[in-house]
């Protein structure tokens, strides 16, 4: 029992990792996209737990908020909006299914052989220096920080979010701003692409550019059906 409690992170990793793999497998296997989405949600939550084990609490929180909270809701909305029913006898896979499984196995074997060589088994690293103190390393590398004394005095607490925030707003400020611009562009793009057609009574009050757009869509439809 003592060995089990002292190695609790490993035990949690094994259980959560198994659930994550099983859930991701079911994402691919499920016929109904709603079930796929729910298993994907389970996978995301398990991955968040794995992040916590590796002392990345802030990333885990972002994972739950953005992935589980944002992206999954988006997926579920679209699945239910489209309401596309698969017939029971309909094929679930493309003609490339066997090739796909082969490629997946090949990629896995490739990674497996790389990892197996032993370079990433980090027992010897643990002996040399203590890991798990990412934030302390970061603060040690940035001695000009005026608040460092205050930080040092509270060094026992885990402040991963603070260290990540510090890095984002100093060393990675430009990528951070570019990311915000990227999100703006993606949002505008999604709105423009996803706009729906106008109904008959809406067409009377709609401005000219929207009418024009609807006509273009009709033309595209005719071309596609031709």
């Amino acid at each position: 029992m003592d060995g089990l409690t002292s190695n609790a992170p490993l035990l949690v990793f094994m259980v959560i990792g198994t659930i994550a793999v099983a859930a991701s497998f079911l994402v691919v296997m499920m016929r109904n996209p709603v079930h796929s989405a729910l298993f994907l949600l389970l996978t995301f939550l398990c991955v968040a737990v794995l992040f916590v084990i590796k002392a990345a609490e802030f990333v885990a929180a972002v994972q739950v908020l953005v992935y589980a909270g944002g992206i999954m809701v988006l997926f579920l909305f679209v699945v239910m909006l489209i309401n596309y029913r698969h017939l029971p006898e309909e094929r679930m896979t493309t003609s490339l299914a066997i090739g796909g499984v082969g490629v997946g196995l090949a990629i896995f074997l490739l990674f497996f052989t790389i990892v197996r060589t032993g370079a990433y088994h980090d027992e010897h690293l643990n002996a040399e220096k203590k890991l798990g103190t990412v934030k302390e390393t970061y603060l040690a590398e940035h001695p000009t920080d005026p608040n460092k004394l205050v930080r040092r005095s509270r060094a026992k607490e885990n402040r991963n979010a603070e260290a990540v925030g510090m890095a984002l707003y100093t060393d990675y400020l430009v990528p951070f701003e570019v990311a915000s611009l990227f999100l703006l562009v993606a949002m505008i793009g999604a709105i423009v692409i996803g706009k729906r057609e106008l109904s008959a009574d809406e067409e009377e009050t709609a401005p000219a550019y929207m009418i024009e757009r609807v006509e273009t869509e009709k033309e595209v439809k005719e071309l596609l059906s031709a």
């Binding site: 997946g104 060393d171 990311a179 999604a190």
Partner: protein
């Protein structure tokens, strides 16, 4: 504490499963979900190495990957909705106007 190698194994498994889904599934929404799965596998790698090297870069990069994944999901789903309006299908192999 689970070693980096164990994390890499797990991430390789998730990546391979996601890849199979992207290639094999017909439903475009599920294909998009599998892409998210692959991005998540990459994130696991980044966090594992961030811990191993005691370097914050990996975690910062993970946040950027999550940002890009969010944008990609939004635009991809918008495209799928529009495609469904035009063609009334979300199957990958029924959309081949360009004969790709």
């Amino acid at each position: 504490m689970p070693s980096t190698a164990q994390y890499l194994m797990l991430s390789a498994t998730l990546f391979a499963i996601g890849l199979v889904g992207v290639i094999a599934r017909r439903n475009m929404i599920v294909v998009l979900m599998c892409i998210e799965l692959m991005l998540n596998a990459v994130n696991i790698n980044l966090v594992a190495f961030s811990h191993r090297l005691a370097d914050l870069q990996g975690q910062v990069f993970t946040i950027f990957v999550i940002t890009v994944a969010a944008g990609e999901a939004a635009v991809g789903l918008a495209i799928i909705i529009q495609l469904y309006r035009l063609r009334s299908t979300v199957n990958v192999d029924e959309v081949k106007t360009l004969h790709g």
